[in-house]
Symmetry: C3
Subunit: 337 residues, 3 copies
Amino acid sequence: MQFAGSHILSVQQFQRDDVERIFAVADDMRPYAQRRRITRVLEGAILGSMFFEPSTRTRVSFGSAFNLLGGEVRETTGFESTAIAKGESLYDTARVLSGYSDVIAMRHPAEGSVGEFAVASRVPVINGGDGSNEHPSQALLDLYTINSEIAGRGGSIDKLRIAMVGDLRHGRTVHSLCKLLCLFPNVQVVLVSPLELRMPGEIVEDMRKSGLQVMESDVLEASIAHVDIVYSTRIQEERFSSQEEADLYRGRFRLNQSIYTSHCEPNTVIMHPLPRDSRDNARELDDDLNDNPNLAIFRQADNGVLVRMALFALILDVAEQVDRHARDVSWYTAGRF
Amino acid sequence: MQFAGSHILSVQQFQRDDVERIFAVADDMRPYAQRRRITRVLEGAILGSMFFEPSTRTRVSFGSAFNLLGGEVRETTGFESTAIAKGESLYDTARVLSGYSDVIAMRHPAEGSVGEFAVASRVPVINGGDGSNEHPSQALLDLYTINSEIAGRGGSIDKLRIAMVGDLRHGRTVHSLCKLLCLFPNVQVVLVSPLELRMPGEIVEDMRKSGLQVMESDVLEASIAHVDIVYSTRIQEERFSSQEEADLYRGRFRLNQSIYTSHCEPNTVIMHPLPRDSRDNARELDDDLNDNPNLAIFRQADNGVLVRMALFALILDVAEQVDRHARDVSWYTAGRF
Amino acid sequence: MQFAGSHILSVQQFQRDDVERIFAVADDMRPYAQRRRITRVLEGAILGSMFFEPSTRTRVSFGSAFNLLGGEVRETTGFESTAIAKGESLYDTARVLSGYSDVIAMRHPAEGSVGEFAVASRVPVINGGDGSNEHPSQALLDLYTINSEIAGRGGSIDKLRIAMVGDLRHGRTVHSLCKLLCLFPNVQVVLVSPLELRMPGEIVEDMRKSGLQVMESDVLEASIAHVDIVYSTRIQEERFSSQEEADLYRGRFRLNQSIYTSHCEPNTVIMHPLPRDSRDNARELDDDLNDNPNLAIFRQADNGVLVRMALFALILDVAEQVDRHARDVSWYTAGRF
């Protein structure tokens, strides 16, 4: 695809070489995100960060990524404006607000709303989550993490073996990741969930049509024995009709250090889209894994900044100029990463 | 007036040459707002954006205008602070908060509060709306839009013919605009509203005393037949005692493409302070006008950035320096405007 | 202490020479805070401002201080995120959010939470208030103000005589200030409060052990007759079980110009952590003191910016570089301070 000036609305707009291009640029962003260098390539540019649904970490991750490129951020959180309550169409909102920035990152509770907004926007829009529909930057950072973790272990995304564990029915991140994995036909996927929380059939079907080998299971231990990645997810309690119903599943699949040692191959990577549920009755990833060097969950969150910097750099067509506007960091950063 | 260091509290502080000075500076801001150039003239300066009453578009418009001049923005939205609840006077609040920035843009629900705040502030304050009282930057952007639209059509503000349509009783923007038009004695104004929602008598009186020709009407079609501008407004439902009462008037005056073609002179400009009410029972400006090149409502919103940049540049006395701190834009902006 | 890379969690981590170092750097910040010069020493750096409990003035003071050094601010206010509600541990929150910035300023309602957060954070954390526990930058700015006010009057912190007046039981700021004063053994302290609202015994004990001379009183006039500083505080009504209970004490100790003239030595300095309660039944510092040049309450608030700039400069180890990245201010600042 042509990145300059494009909206990023869905993982389904990417071909394999688009993904590789994003990852190459994300790699280039590492010295800036790790504070070994700073760049001012987007000095003077403005990100419109419009989170009509709150999300601290996604919002701050987008904002910091833009700041790290030298740009400014103007934010809206929640439906503070009553313009929509006063009968304003999403078309009008988009036409007006897109005049205040150079690029927009937007989250909205209604499925499809970000795409509708993008049609009327005069600047590129990145979908930061539209209801249960899409969250493409999350899928990209997940795949970027998979790629960098297994590359460091001598593996390759072309022979990836991954287990996804937990609430596969409601988890938006695993849905998007599966759609993105369809670009890599040799991948083997094990889907581990309670029967009632299985991955939607059409997503499984799409993966199989794309050539992936997909297995489904409701047993944890055997399913994580021969994989490169265990991708754990929490029970999405907010999608259940009651806490009691969610409690039926919470804590069903718990990975801790003892199970990891007994069942996983050495150096199996552990991922999670976060937040992980650390309450006693949940603990899908136990705290005793915190010292396990294969626990990649915080590297995964850090990678979100790299991937979002890459998306901004590509959309605004400055990927080649980042280094030209760079200089050394002059403040204390020891122990930063 | 002397702009450097002054508060901007009311349209009534301006003489005609002040307005012309603001418009001349706003014109100079266009290349920056349109991303053909960037300027860093206010690098290091801080705007205190204090919206004690929420307003996404006005708040973001002020913030982006300040960013476009190279400055930073520190924001407060809503009454998050309980200082006032703890008995703090507006004097104390102003003395303290004005120590944190170089200029303040403030909205507050109480009439007169921004002026009271300004008295105690140590830095210039721009009134971003104080209850039903004043919102001077809105009136300025409206008049700036009128001026630039009719200039492009060979007209002039000195022989302006304008129809204001809708809820003229409650609309703060039309009140302020009328006060500002008093500086231009040859203007002809047609006020179109339901009888119960007529423009307040003292404003009509002031316009007549200033020499303007003012007509009042409750019929749309004839009233828009011989004007340069139709300025439409929505029913300000939040000022009515009930939705039912507002419903009595909503949808009374609807302009759509068919009425426009049948009744307006060619190239009559359509304006609206936004948000327009696009619900079925309202539609004071129909969506079928969206492709009409004379629909100026989004240019009007864009002009808000220019006018606010001009106010900041004049108050902080950098209008002459903007170009000296300018450089080319290095990111992708095609199709920006 | 070693400032570079350190957390600032409690006044008890400081020795006397640490305090003096902070004050020396704060002095150096004055030309920048007063807009005679600007510096870009932290250009490219990001402050994570995380106010899980709202506080407009502390939040904006930290943010402006960081902007004045040239850095950017990414903010979170309130518990907008539901991550903690979804069972996320403070450890996970800290690990993730600390990846988005170079330094964090944090307020949280739970005592000890900021310290717990700091353990997991990968960047330095400044405690902006954790419940009723600590608020070290407030104590530092209070002591900095005391020092600069009495130095200007020929006094010295080593022979300081100070009266603290009001709700000494609940006031977090006077608790922290007393702890910090323990570094200066010759100080004389008069504690003036209703019997029921006396300073906690262990704090009085600590001051006496450190060598300070401490008197307690429930009479205002005699207690303020021979001091350099009167530090007044409001009744912390939010800590009482009812407004009625708070009303028993509100207005008990009122300082106004007449009492000041009759009882205080000339040039006695008046301080208050703000907000002062200006309602009729409170008025612990009457508005008629506003023109008294010894009323230092707004200089005290301004000093908060200096002290916070100093903390950032020391923690990020750029105190020696500030001037090298400096230049003149080009906008209008007359009457700024």
